[in-house]
Amino acid sequence: MGAIGELFKKNIRQYGMIIALIFISIFFQILTDGILLKPLNVTNLILQNSYILVLAIGMVLVIITGHIDLSVGSVAAFIGAFSAIMMVDMQMNPVLAVILSLLMGALVGAWQGFWVAYIKIPAFIVTLAGMLLFRGLTMIVLNGQSIAPFPKSFQKISSGFIPDLFNGSTMHVLTLVIGVLLSTLVVYQEFKTRKIQAKYGFEQSSVWLSFAKSAALVLVINAFTFVLAQYNGIPNILVILLVLIAIYSFVMNRMTMGRHIYALGGNEKAAGLSGVKTKRVTFWVFVNMGVLAALSGLVFAARLNSATPKAGTNFELDAIAACFIGGASASGGIGTVIGAIIGGLVMGVMNNGMSLVGLGVDWQQGIKGLVLLLAVGFDIYNKSKTS
């Protein structure tokens, strides 16, 4: 019993938000008489939050380096407008337009990264300027009006689903198959890690714990795909999201680049004197943020099927909140991609749940603010207790 308690205590910070997410989901599931987790609504949840989650991935990197990016909402709007000009007005091939849009995002990121990394202007100021600048550019480009409609193939980014190769009648069979494949991957990974650990002669957690962990993950994955399969299956955007999460988690946890980002945020001077190219890393983190903001803008434009001057308003605040709820530290050096995603989902489920029970936007805003404050307060309380 003591061992389990110890384990729980040690991991409370890591799993705290997951547990909170589960509780919030259950809470609204009951409050909405089961509408929250209906296949249609779960699909909706993903579509509604996808563009914030994309931003949160980039934002958490920026926050880990000890900076902030206030401009992402404006940048998303600007890229949405930029892509609309190319696809709607100029009738350009959507694939080419998407590539050019992402490159434009990289350029925007490079612009801001240059000022932050090399001229050493605080990111708060650079991106505050960027927020105004790119909002202004959006309005200029759009002439203050919306542009629509986008080509069908482009809309598929946000509204499409992966095709069912098996032609299931009531269920989306490919979705279920993917669930099973992912499960096998999870179990295989767990065993592979154990084998390597054994090879190096490291201490290992008990087999039972490994087993329980894999079992829980397999259960969650398959429950999730089962729910999705009852509607239209896996949305395209979910595939994009999962790929992004996997790539960025890998980079941050396993690659030198990620290690340099954490070191830079933890202590810039020490990192610099240890051979980390601090300016270059900062610069690229902002370029990356620009690309992801562009992607977010494209996803949003595709979902709305129009580019509007007001698109992306307050996106930056949601993305930043997601990171902090997910355990990132405002002083840098601490945070995870998964954490930011969980944080984003906490916000998303609350938004969705509160809308379903018919709470007004006014109340929603206030409650979200309190949740952000409490989540970070809880985190800080925990840290002060352990140290």
Partner: protein, 502 residues
């Protein structure tokens, strides 16, 4: 203080400690890092409020129950922490009366503040205007401002935590004189210091702590206390030799700097280093002595990937070939390593664990296509933890929780693992207790015997004399002398260190 016991979650920091300070005396408190000196002083000054510890504080026979620092200050007990608590962008007078403003109903009387500040500055012997911004004066003077601040609170018992740790010899001397002067005015002091010669010089009695317990209290005169007696009490054993033995095997020159000139990074015309020539040979431990501001750290940093200074000119040779170390990565590739002076700010990622700190400079070695082999990383960290005797429960311990000595071993591990030919160690034993110092010295000797060249920058002359085969002395940005081990004495070094040019 009687029978003080203070526990933190999991550790007993103080157990039944007794400390008795007589009125009007200077009482030294000695002990290794982690012995509980600072904790004891925090209890005394009310940082840890009453009820947080067991035992009694008796002040002039009265039992005191301090709720916070204000309580203890009202009785005239003032603590000056090792890290100075001044606000850099406020003036001297604003700092002195911070929290104690000369005000009526919240409106500050600046004239009175200025007049009082002038008086206080005169007492501590600081010739600065009360309006000078604190960030523009040196650490030595800031220390005096802190003391003036304490005096403004009508201090009766002054507690100084490592007051001279960051000061050069001159400033230290001044400060010690001032403490003696205050004693004449009836102010008692408790001084925590690692510099035993200072204690010998000014203290009337000394209390030694070890592992959270009082070992002994000695009267400096009656008991004829010497440094050796104090050290024995601190470490619990005789340290017959404070510097480990080594027979140098010196080979060919592997590192050389020629005609090295460096200008100040922001003040374009200020020449910080002037025509420096120096070399290090295989298996040799070379020292650089000098006063603070002589340009020792600037030399090390400007050579190490030009991390300091502008308009750098001159040549660097490794193994006889000229190299251009234009950034830190190039310096590392050519076999240079630099262990910084201030490990907390420039050496470690404090929020990261031991493992990640050790591997940080060598991630290339541990990775393939940018993917880190984390299992190798663990093995490497474990190896260095064992080799350098880093005392911690595991390599996943965050470095912020380690003692100074162990932090330094982590930084050393990081740089040794990069496989350098030349290691530059800037104040490698600053703020480290006697036992750990010995271990660091042994590591330095080990490195030299492996054929590496080691450059030791140190402000402690006995350390330079005890460790180095050859010593360069710097003064005002140039090398004012070079002496071999057998010819070197403190007097000779001091002479070169203070000799003015021209």
């Amino acid at each position: 203080m009687k029978g003080i016991t203070k526990t933190f979650p999991g550790v007993k920091a103080l157990s039944n400690v007794n400390l008795k300070v007589k009125e009007g005396e200077i009482h030294a408190l000695c002990g290794e890092n982690g012995a509980g000196k600072s904790t004891l002083m925090k209890v005394l000054s009310g940082v840890y409020p009453h009820g947080n510890y067991d035992g009694d504080i008796l002040y002039k026979g009265q039992v005191c129950q301090f709720k916070d620092i204000k309580d203890s200050e009202s009785l005239g007990i003032v603590i000056i922490h090792q890290e100075l608590a001044l606000i850099p962008y406020l003036s001297i007078s604003e700092n002195i009366f911070l929290g104690n403003e000369q005000a009526k109903r919240g409106v500050i009387n600046w004239n009175e503040t200025t007049v009082k500040t002038r008086g206080l500055l005169q007492t501590v012997g600081l010739k600065e205007s009360p309006f000078t911004q604190v960030s523009t004066i040196g650490v030595g003077k800031q220390q005096l401002v802190e003391i003036a601040k304490a005096l403004s609170k009508e201090v009766k018992l002054l507690i100084l935590d490592e007051p001279t740790a960051a000061l050069n010899e001159d400033d230290s001397e001044n400060l010690l004189e001032l403490i003696l002067e205050l004693k004449k005015q009836g102010i008692s002091s408790i001084i925590i210091s690692h510099k035993l010669n200072e204690i010998e010089k000014i203290a009337d009695s000394v209390t030694i702590l070890r592992d959270g317990q009082t070992i002994q209290t000695l009267d400096m005169k009656k008991d004829q206390v010497t440094e050796d007696v104090i050290i024995k009490g601190m470490v619990g054993r005789d340290l017959t030799n404070r510097y480990p033995e080594r027979t140098p095997e010196i080979g060919e020159t592997i590192f050389e700097v020629r005609n090295w000139n460096v200008y100040h990074p922001t003040q374009q015309d200020r020449k910080m280093l002037n025509n420096i020539n120096m070399n290090i040979r295989r298996g040799e431990v070379v020292g650089i002595a000098g006063l603070m501001g002589a340009g020792r750290t600037e030399l090390a940093m400007s050579v190490f990937g030009r991390s300091y200074g502008k308009r750098i000119s001159g040549q660097v040779f490794m193994h006889g070939k000229e190299v251009h170390l234009t950034d830190i990565n190039k310096a590392m590739e050519h076999g240079l390593a630099y262990v910084t002076e201030d490990r907390k700010h420039y050496g470690l990622i404090l929020i990261d664990d031991i493992k990640r700190n050790i591997s940080l400079s060598s991630l290339k070695k541990l990775s393939k296509y940018g993917v880190i082999n984390e299992n190798e990383e663990v093995l490497v960290a474990e190896e260095y933890r064992r080799k350098l005797n880093i005392k911690s429960p595991s390599i996943l311990q965050k470095t912020v929780n380690l003692s100074g000595g162990n932090q330094q071993k982590v930084v050393l591990s990081k740089w040794i693992y990069t496989g350098p030919d030349i290691l530059i160690l800037d104040e490698p034993t600053r703020g480290i207790d006697v036992g750990a110092k010995y271990e660091i010295y042994s590591i330095i000797n080990q490195l030299a015997s492996e054929g590496k060249g080691v450059l030791v920058i140190s402000s402690e002359l006995p350390e330079i004399l005890g460790m180095c085969d050859r010593i360069y002395i710097m003064n005002e940005g140039h090398i004012s002398g070079e002496v071999d081990r057998q010819d070197a004495t403190q007097e000779i070094l001091m002479k070169y260190m203070t000799r003015s040019r021209g």
